[in-house]
Subunit: 190 residues, 2 copies
DNA sequence: TGTACATCAGTGAACGCGCGTTCACTGATGTAC
DNA sequence: TGTACATCAGTGAACGCGCGTTCACTGATGTAC
């Protein structure tokens, strides 16, 4: 049953990607290794051929999920801050249970996780901040970064709350208002 | 061993309060019924004399935890929006693992929870929004509420991210910047 | 007010279950000659 | 290039453990007369 190095590497990537989706859909604690291995089309026994522990795959899944978000943001970024914010705080992102931003889907669990995971999530947070900081070219780099830190934090909070709330109108209001307020930042100085 | 009605009611309150602290410290899934009953000074077997299910105590713990936050905000509110934001986004609140705001401590888990829990969390969210909306007396009520929705969402995101991030400077920057940006809202129109 | 009995808050053992992790095994891949 | 053997990706059963929930039991509280 041994697979070639290429196939094994591809399998590993598939597991990380499936893990990112499953964690974002159901949460870290609520997702078992069997669940994510099944989502990758494998049985759970093989997990430890690729990873040291569940924590390791959580960390890698975070990085993987954030890479997707960052790529999208970089693409939208050519059209300005508004485009990034609109995509991040869209109904579509809110409804996409898996495949969305891990910071929003897993935020409170990540904050309680241990260093390995938090370090990985931090790194992704920083990279997302840096992408958004580029949307404030008129500010000096430090001020732009500071603005971007606020934008990312506020977007994460808004997306999380819009998913938590049971009233659909309130959910939409959270997204709308956050979009409006964050769009304003572009024009004004730091 | 039967306790008087008064004692039983007091015990119930103690369990809910202990639950709020334990959930906020370790997360919902990571806190067992034994943990929270032990935190209330009881053994786990008695749990179902007071609650239908774990979900029920989660819902009540959310409401309980948010009541504390709302009371604090109402108190600070007499000194204006800045005072509320300063307290919510303080290092002190960030470091207080238990006893803080459940929306920040449990946000992503709440977003994935079922209706009973999400309805309870929503209710608390709305009440907190209403308290903060009073800080925009110059706006018409609807606009004030809309502003407040943004303030709460942004504060929740900022507190969560400031707890997640491993770099202490970045953690402080998240709080500082969010405070600064949210303080600005007071003056300007909706 | 006193007595007899039902109620029920709290205990601690037990239930089935799924968790993260380990392991013996399989057989194709990689390697040494 | 062909052959012999070591490697190891993936399988599926098994491990101990703690979960949420249930239950028989205890004995003080509440209630009916």
């Amino acid at each position: 049953m041994r697979k070639s190095k290429l196939e094994a590497a591809e399998t590993r990537r598939r597991i990380v990607s499936a893990a990112a989706q499953e964690f974002c859909r159901n949460g870290i604690h609520a997702t078992g290794l069997s669940d994510l291995m099944a989502a990758a089309g494998l049985t759970h026994g093989g997990f430890y051929k690729h990873f040291r522990s569940k924590d390791q795959v959580v960390a890698e899944a975070c990085v993987n999920g954030l890479e997707t978000v960052i790529e999208v943001a970089e693409g939208e970024g050519k059209s300005g801050l508004e485009a990034i914010v609109e995509t991040y705080l869209s109904m579509d992102h809110r409804n996409r249970l898996s495949g969305g931003c891990p910071l929003a889907a897993l935020g409170s669990e990540l904050a309680q996780a241990d260093d390995e995971i938090r370090a990985a999530a931090s790194q992704g947070f920083i990279r997302l901040v840096d992408v958004i900081a580029k949307q404030f070219p008129q500010s000096d780099p430090e001020a732009a970064r500071a603005q971007a830190v606020f934008v990312v934090s506020a977007m994460v909070g808004a997306l999380t709350m819009s998913r938590m709330v049971t009233d659909p109108d309130l959910s939409a209001l959270i997204l709308d208002q956050s979009r409006k307020q964050l769009d304003r930042l572009q024009g004004q100085g730091a």
